[in-house]
């Protein structure tokens, strides 16, 4: 049985069915991301000023990732325009760039995730905190490369100007108190020439050499995975869900571009519609990222 309205538009809706379907799907997606955004707003506004640790993320890398995604959106819409002009070769070339952009985006995102999973916070028995990236871990000791100080955003400076300290890893009032204590302990340790540091509040740039922490001195050791604090939990949820959309979109675009391209010879209009529908989904993924990027990385 032939599927109706794959090319011709219905009289009542003025659309072919797949287009109506994708817009209904995108409407439901808006609500899905909207619910997660609202969760983020509640968590962000509920955090004490200066305690939201978004500086943990690499703004430069994600700016690059945003531009990669924008480029992919341009190539998607260009590929559709080329199909409309019956230029299949140009469609193939531009859509290949889209797929490469998707792979690049996921690659950069994976690099960022890996960085978080190698980034550790070690609380020692004496209350001092060592924060940095894992170099080596043995049965007897852990070798950490201390995190350099971050460049403060305008909002962090405003929080600081109001006299709010910046114990970035704080998750609750209790944790804030603990972090403040550890700052004092760190200052004392520095006077004694110790190599422990809390880079979020101290001049970690002074400690560029790797720090060796004996296993027997470690009270708690945890990486910056989603379990570390509420910020990272919502960060991984939002960016993870978005990354799944990128992967899903790239798979569909890749299928239409590769094995599905046979349809161009038999049903070119239907094929063009498929490209259009997959493109609409891709633009939506781009649209979500346009809001995710400033909210997660900059504010």
């Amino acid at each position: 049985m032939e599927i109706p309205y794959t090319v011709r538009e219905r009289e009542d809706t003025g659309l072919y069915n797949a287009k109506l379907g994708i817009w209904l799907f995108l409407a439901s997606e808006v609500m899905l991301f909207g619910a997660l955004f609202s969760s983020y707003i509640l968590l962000r506004v509920g955090a004490s000023p200066g305690t939201w640790p978004h500086h943990l993320l690499n703004v430069f890398l994600e700016t690059l990732n945003t531009i990669v995604l924008i480029l992919s959106s341009v190539t998607v819409v260009l590929s559709w325009a080329f199909l409309k002009m019956n230029q299949f070769g140009k469609y193939r070339a531009t859509q290949a760039i889209t797929i490469l952009c998707a792979i690049t985006f996921i690659g950069i995102k994976s690099f960022e995730y890996r960085d978080k999973f190698l980034h550790y916070e070690i609380i020692k028995n004496d209350g001092t905190i060592v924060d940095g990236h894992l170099i080596e871990r043995t049965k007897d000791y852990v070798l950490i490369h201390p995190t350099p100080p971050h460049r403060e955003s305008a909002m962090e400076k405003q929080a600081e100007a109001k006299g709010v300290s910046n114990p970035s890893e704080a998750k609750s009032p209790e944790d804030t108190a603990h972090a403040t204590k550890s700052v004092e302990a760190t200052a004392a340790a520095k006077k004694e020439g110790a190599t422990t540091t809390n880079p979020a509040v101290e001049n970690a740039g002074e400690h560029e050499e790797p720090v060796k922490v004996m296993t027997s001195d470690i009270k708690k050791m945890e990486n910056y995975g989603p379990w570390h604090n509420t910020y990272l939990a919502i960060y991984f949820t939002l960016t993870g869900l978005h990354a799944l959309h990128v992967i899903g979109g790239a798979l569909v675009i890749g299928y239409i571009w590769g094995p599905g391209a046979r349809m161009w010879k038999t049903e070119p209009e239907r094929y063009t519609n498929r490209v259009e529908v997959s493109g609409l989904f891709w633009h939506f993924v781009d649209l979500v990222w346009i809001f995710l990027f400033p909210v997660l990385y900059l504010l």
């Binding site: 003025g14 209904l24 409407a27 609500m31 924008i70 955003s153 909002m155 939506f284 400033p294």
Partner: protein, 111 residues
């Protein structure tokens, strides 16, 4: 991206490229603006969200062709905007200092 609205493909291609460049510039402006002190945290949030909204309009309006789409799609989106705005209103309402969420005693009384 409706075929009914693609008048001059070459002009459209030029427009898509211009929009793409505008989006890239908007991204860089967003990052730079985050390091400028606009006085209050609220002002910085507003600036970032205004830029994001402009970029969002460019993607939805031109890449998704919402500037010239069918009534049916506007109807679907109107319903979405209604529910999305309702969701955001609930969030903003809960953040109001007078909200019951900030008065646990009142919540216990209601229960």
């Amino acid at each position: 991206m409706s075929s009914a609205h693609a008048h001059d493909p070459k002009a459209e291609i030029r427009r898509f490229i211009i929009v793409g460049v505008a989006l890239a510039v908007g991204t860089i402006v967003t990052v730079l603006a985050s390091f400028i002190n606009f006085g209050t945290p609220g002002a910085n949030i507003v600036v970032a969200l205004v830029i994001a909204c402009i970029k969002g309009f460019l993607v939805a309006g031109f890449f998704m062709h919402l500037v010239s789409e069918r009534v049916m799609i506007y109807t679907i989106l109107a319903a979405t905007v209604f529910f999305f705005a309702g969701l955001m209103y609930l969030i903003l309402w809960s953040l109001e200092p007078t909200s019951l969420m900030h008065d646990p005693a009142a919540l216990i009384h209601i229960r």
